[in-house]
């Protein structure tokens, strides 16, 4: 049986370290360039297969944890997973085709 209210109402708040105002960091531009280099080096099809697979795993985990709606344009996480799975499959198929052509 409970005899005390939640600590949220009883704790005296103490000041805590907070991050200072962030400088603008165009990190995403760096990421896009890096992905471009990777796909240049290991072929676009393989890049799509790898990132598609990672995306499917990531979204499946997020969905299990309750993410029903993504910020992605597709919205519903089930749609996002389907899109990524199709992309990964096409990427894998194209990679195999490329390898076969190369060996021929």
């Amino acid at each position: 049986m409970r005899h005390e209210p939640p600590t949220a109402f009883t704790r005296t708040p103490e000041s805590v370290p907070v991050e200072e105002h962030k400088q603008y960091d165009p990190l995403q531009l760096c990421i896009y360039t890096t992905i471009g280099i990777i796909s240049w080096l290991i072929t676009p099809a393989l890049t799509v297969a790898i990132f598609g697979t990672i995306g499917v795993l990531g979204y499946a985990q997020a969905r299990r944890r309750g993410l029903a709606k993504s910020r992605c344009k597709l919205g519903d996480t089930r749609l996002v997973i389907a899109y990524l799975a199709i992309a990964a499959t096409i990427g894998a198929a194209a990679t195999i085709l490329n390898v076969v052509r190369f060996l021929d």
């Binding site: 005899h3 209210p5 939640p6 949220a8 704790r11 805590v16 370290p17 907070v18």
Partner: protein
Amino acid sequence: MTLGMPTREDRIVRYVTAFCPHCHDAYPDRPLEEVPRLSGYLSVAEDHVWLVRGCPEHGKVVTLYDEDPDILEYLEQWTAPTKYHNPDTAGNYDPIPSAYLRGLGEMQTQHTCILLEDVTQVCNLRCPTCFADSSPQLKGVVPVADLLANIDRRLDREGGRIDVLMLSGGEPTIHPDFLTLLDRVTERNITRIVVNTNGITISRDDELLDAFRRHNRRVEVYLQFDGLRKATYLHHRNADLRAMKQRAVERLRDAEVFITLTMTASLGVNDDEIGDVVNYALDTPFVGGVSIQPQFGSGRSGEINPLDRLTHTGVLSRLGPQTDGLVNWDDLTALPCSHPHCASVGYMIRDDSGEWRSLVSLIGHERLKEHLDLVANRIADDDLPAEIRGAVKASLLGLLSDQTSLTHPTVGELIRTVCESCDLGVSSLLRIAADSGRNGTRLRDTLATRVKRISIKPFMDMNTMIEERLTQCCVHVGTKSEADLDQCAPFCAVQAWPQLGSQKLSEIAGARVGSVPVTLRGPMEVTT
């Protein structure tokens, strides 16, 4: 890195005006003008909703308000326009609670859906938990003329019609002139008369049962029914009343009187019996429904832990697990006309295959909201013509109101309109409703077995009292002002503040009781 204030651990959901339970306990008779109205808020922490208010004397006072924040948020979606009222005293802008000393004030925002008259202080039980503080030792019996004067004043204020009159007490059926009272009130323009009773007199008094049978189109019995276990009755009523309750139910059923089982539910006592009582109601003809009332701390009440108690959303969340998923919390909605925290209601309808389904699940939540105009209407005109939409909305608002139960004369029509227009496929129910004609006997028989109303009614005590719920309250108790004028005041306020309680007609009768002996109906001792 630099220093700053941390983010709150709680999430504030509503700012409210509340009252201090410690101040109230220390001085319950404090003049109402001096009752401090405190700034406060409802806030979510540790998955519960808490009422937090700041008292100049006791500091931050935190009490449990509701157990499930998600269900409370769901209930808040269901609000519809309230109705105008006529204040008892024109120009009464006094603050709450002192405003109620002169009846409903100008700032009340809802009319009287239910007028409750305490016809006597006396009871043939002395329950350990009784918000009205009734007992066999008390003497107050209100003369019929005084009751009718108060009722007639309310009829005036309500434009000539009262939706529901509730006769309560004490035990109203032991009032010496109860049968005369029943005859007099049924002559008036009152849609439905409800008698709150423990059932003892009904279980033995044939004359009383005949009166109920005679008026069974308009009179319904709210039968105290706390569960099916002996221990439950010993806790709440100090006696094993199970056999008597069963007798009362059978006699009322045979007299074709609709019964609503009113269950006082307490944490650790009978909160695990909610499903059993619902199932009993579903299985028993002429039990039109269940009203589950979490125990509240006004009047003579057992100790309630203000931090760990059964609440409105707590009852709702127990429905599913205790009925094997037959009735779930989202089969109910908040009463749209009342404050969404004050009551929830749902209808269960047995379809042609014998399965119980809720009206909400038959219609669908979003569609129901659209019909009630609670959300932007997305139904195309060719999908449902405007006049049918209007009829469905009126019917649904009628069904989902505090005034309605299965004895309401229009309830069959309401269900018929709703079901027919929404094409719900409960065909034989509709056919019977359509064929029922003027006397409606077949419809009554059908309603008796195939439609049940489940409601949760959490009354407020000082640990959960917030002003906005009093302002929007529509369950009003008949009172008399110092100037001897008939008036009324919100139920929870009357139970919580003794000054308002002393204005009840039964208390006034008790205070002036003198040498005139009163003979009550039926024996006062309880044998079971």
